[in-house]
């Protein structure tokens, strides 16, 4: 699909770049409103307890305490998918919120509150949760409900079967069984889950600034809680200081801050401390996986069986999506006739959980591709040939929805990456290559595939485009821009669609004044809001043409638009500026509307990431060095190469960091997380990689048939290819397979010492 595009794909500066490099950008943590109070929370010291009573009597006489809200007053409120009752279910759950003139005063007040708890036996992890005699977190038991499809008869299991698994294994020459367990990861977004609630008693309106990925969910949750119509809750997130999936929940704290503002009739601000941020807002939960795969000697996969259990934390929130992400997403990585998966998510008294650049397919896929690596080793096949043979083609029917894959360039990406790294010359049998400095050399391919759309029940994009009387275009798209450059991309799409310059388009984002749109997750915004913007521009264009037709004395159908002018297609000299059309006597502002969603059973644009790595493993120190890393993708038409590279390069932090370095420390006697800060919880620093090791990205532009100008989103999967790549490369180096994460230095050393797998 050759397209002559002027703005989409062009190198344009990100809209908020200057504001961010000058310090002018006002994040939620920077918001100040006159008369603003500060909130702090008294938090549960127990992972599971009944709150018998709360006494805030001693606060009544304190002039500087302006409002108080307690857990028991919130009974019945549904927060993150679960109703508040008389129990607290995680250590650090907010029990009382206090608004005072200063943070220090609010903290002081907390020490005067008396809470009586009845401690309950608690559940440490998913394994414990599923024991028959386990304490019950919720009356209905410890398994999270999954009433959706594909599901099992118990309404608690994500489950799907294609073909006949027994037949698939009967056809197999080689069968591999494998297990994999992953740990918890903190999101470490640099801006914490901050919020400012400003209740306007005169207007009966709440204005709520919040660092979020979903201003409209926050709007809906708060409107329901405050018993207000949606329009009376205005949610604003102009700049979101990082999210990565961790800001997809309207926290209990947000509800409480809103209530405090209403009660005090003054604005109230809450900024979590780093420890509160790390351990009480959201984290990537642990999971365990079991795989059984079968295949023929020629590399044909005949059967995939996958079972997963996630530790879902105490609240329902996004647990079902996790389970689906761990199963349905992952079995779609490879073409196979006989497939079965089953996934469960268990309630535990751990901190609440959230997505982390994907609903679990990073972890689940890593384990699956380890099984694949064992399989190809056994049949003596080159792993790259296996991937080339088995990754889906455009037109393949994917997962339980059996939607049509619209992604077509994966093989081309794999070939280009393999060429770049010199696969043919470098790939070797496990443990067979020593570097001149004595370290062991390893090389591997990893692959991951996210989705670039979500079902209409969750995902619909709405955009309004206005062409004002000066001929300039304004886009209203309520997306949050947490660094991925989404707002800039939508402006590029609008400029392209309306034939105007990038500079002639402005945008309102991160503000519920724009029409309702789904959250920024699942790599779906490009497809969703991009297409909605495109449709809104198309609508505006038709309205423009209708007004221009009499002015040009030509039928509407004959008109075209370029360079800010409308012209007659077969007589291009007859032209008129957009400004002349909208500013004519009796002028009318043009409003275009766009709405877009896509059922998964129709088309499934998929976001693939291919990752090749070369590592050196020091067998004396256990240190793993990534010598080279190549990230590749087919994201359809590129909207911005710089922004795309930025997303792909993000693998170095959350992706490699998760596999090699980051680990949580938890005292399971009390469920107390011990390293909820940025010093003891190690994320990658600038010293952990070099620009030489991070090769330029390999990007294939195989236009997506349903994407705006052929584009599709990619953000989420960018971490996920590195998981299998690094684990299989370490195996290739030292012949040791690790079945749990992270593969830290001590584990590598211990494994080498014992000479076995871990």
């Amino acid at each position: 699909m050759a397209q002559d595009l002027k703005v989409v794909g062009a190198s344009v500066p990100r809209l908020d770049a200057v504001a961010k490099v000058t310090g002018d950008a006002r994040f939620t943590v920077d918001v100040k409103v006159p008369g603003m109070l500060h909130a702090r929370f008294l938090r549960s010291p127990h992972p599971f307890a009944v709150v018998k009573s709360i006494s805030t009597r001693k606060l009544e006489s304190l002039s500087w305490v302006k409002a108080v809200i307690t857990h028991l007053e919130m009974k019945g409120t549904v927060v993150r998918g679960s109703p508040i009752d008389d129990k607290v279910r995680y250590l650090g759950e907010p029990v009382v919120g206090v608004a005072a003139e200063t943070e220090e005063r609010a903290l002081e007040a907390l020490s005067l509150i008396e809470v009586e708890y009845e401690k309950l036996p608690f559940v440490r992890n998913a394994e414990e949760a599923l024991r028959p005699d386990a304490p019950r977190l919720w009356p209905d038991g410890n398994l999270c409900e999954w009433p959706g499809k594909p599901g099992g008869p118990d309404k608690k299991t994500v489950q799907w079967t294609k073909g006949d698994l027994a037949q698939g294994f009967a056809e197999a020459d080689v069968i591999i069984e494998s297990e994999f367990a992953t740990h918890t990861q903190f999101h470490v977004a640099l801006e914490p889950h901050a919020c400012v609630a400003a209740w306007d008693p005169a207007e009966g309106q709440m204005t709520f600034w919040v660092s979020t990925q979903h201003i409209y969910w926050d709007q809906q949750s708060l409107a329901k809680f405050l018993k207000l119509p949606l329009e009376k809750v205005k949610v604003i997130c102009s700049y979101c200081g990082g999210a990565f999936g961790g800001k997809l929940s309207t926290l209990k704290e947000y509800h409480m801050v809103a209530a405090l503002s209403v009660r005090a009739r003054r604005p109230v601000k809450f900024v979590p401390t780093r420890e509160e941020e790390s351990v009480t807002t959201a984290l990537r939960p642990p999971a365990s996986f079991y795989y059984r795969i079968g295949g023929k000697k020629d590399g044909t996969l005949t059967a995939i069986d996958l079972y997963c259990v996630r530790d879902g934390g105490p609240l329902t929130a996004n647990q079902p999506k996790f389970t689906l992400g761990c199963t349905d997403y992952v079995v779609s990585y490879f073409t196979c006739d006989h497939v079965h998966y089953e996934g469960k998510s268990a309630y535990t008294n751990q901190s609440p959980t959230a997505a982390f650049r994907g609903f679990g397919y990073f972890e689940a896929g890593t384990g699956l591709e380890q099984a694949v690596d064992m399989f190809v080793e056994k049949i003596g096949m080159d792993p790259v040939d296996f991937y080339l043979k088995n990754v889906p083609r455009r037109g393949a029917l994917l997962g339980a929805d059996q939607g049509v894959c619209t992604t077509g360039g994966i093989r081309e990406v794999i070939r280009a990456c393999a060429d770049r790294i010199g696969w043919k010359e470098k790939w070797h049998k496990p443990g067979e290559n020593n570097l001149p400095d004595g370290r062991k050399h390893g090389i591997a391919i990893g692959f991951a595939m996210g989705r670039a759309t979500m079902p209409p029940i969750q995902f619909a994009g709405n955009t309004v485009v206005k062409i004002n009387t000066d001929g300039k275009v304004h886009v209203f798209a309520g997306v949050s821009d947490m660094g991925q450059g989404q707002a800039t991309g939508l402006v590029q799409i609008a400029a392209e669609a309306l034939g105007v310059r990038f500079e002639d388009v402005t945008i309102t984002w991160g503000d519920t004044v724009a029409p309702n749109t789904a959250y920024q997750g699942a790599s779906a915004t490009t497809m969703m809001s991009g297409n909605a913007t495109l449709l809104a521009c198309e609508d505006a264009k038709q309205k423009l043409f209708k007004n221009a037709a009499p002015m040009l004395n030509a039928p509407v159908e004959s008109l075209k638009i370029e360079n800010g002018e409308i012209y007659v297609a077969d007589d291009p000299k007859r032209r008129i500026t957009i400004e002349a059309v909208v500013s004519r006597p009796g002028k009318k502002v043009i409003i275009g509307e766009g709405n877009w969603s896509m059922p998964l059973a129709q088309n499934q644009p998929r976001a693939p990431v291919v990752c090749f790595v070369e590592v050196a493993v020091d067998t004396e120190t256990g240190k793993i060095e990534v010598l080279r890393l190549i990230q590749g993708t087919d994201c359809g038409k590129i909207i911005s190469r710089e922004r795309l590279e930025g997303q792909l390069q993000g693998v170095l932090s959350g992706g490699l960091g998760f596999m090699l370095l980051e680990d949580w420390a938890i005292d399971t006697e009390r469920m107390r997380i011990l390293n909820g800060n940025m010093l003891d919880y190690k994320i990658f620093t600038s010293l952990d990689s070099t620009n030489e090791a991070m090769e330029p990205c390999v990007i294939v532009e195989d236009d997506d048939p349903i994407g705006p100008f052929g584009a599709r989103g990619i953000g989420e999967a960018c971490l996920a290819g590195a998981g299998p790549a690094i684990l299989n490369a370490v195996y290739n180096a030292i012949g040791v397979r690790f079945h749990n994460t992270p593969i830290s230095v001590d584990k590598v050393l211990a494994a080498l010492k014992s000479g076995g797998s871990r």
Binding site: A17, K20, F27, V29, G241, G242, T273, L652, N691
Partner: protein, 176 residues
Amino acid sequence: MMKKHASRQKRHVTLFVNGERHQLKVGDRSDEVQVTHTLAHTLRETLDLTGTKTPCNNGECGGCTVLMDGVPILSCTTLTVECDGKHITTIEGLRDQKSGRLHPIQQAFVDHDAVQCGMCTPGMIMSLKALFDRRPDATEGQVREAISGNLCRCTGYVKYVEAALDAARVLREVGA
């Protein structure tokens, strides 16, 4: 050290922030600088210079980096009363105050799209400013060393290094 309680007795603390003199009252009232206030707090809350970020507020992430007499410091673990008479440069002071033109490091960050969520960006740029003021010929290794205390969760640092080396080149040309 000999003057015990010196900060308590002193009535004012004078800061020169981005070239502007601020004489701030020290005391316990909410509009005064309290002895417990950090420089980051004073910059952000008293002087409304919110470009300096405090992602961890505990000296762990480098987001609050400012220059004190040209040296990069963590403003979230520096008490304001310790800064009397000091010259502080924050991210707001980097662009040319008259023309509004961006500093070459800022411009390079824009040109290379070395910006994602933006929370670590001001601290990152201030660390690089301190480096290039001393070493306009800095290598990639020195750039990485200089920003090793500035944690970023979005970028993988690749574009920061590209932008920094490009900015250094521009600074050398301007300086030459």
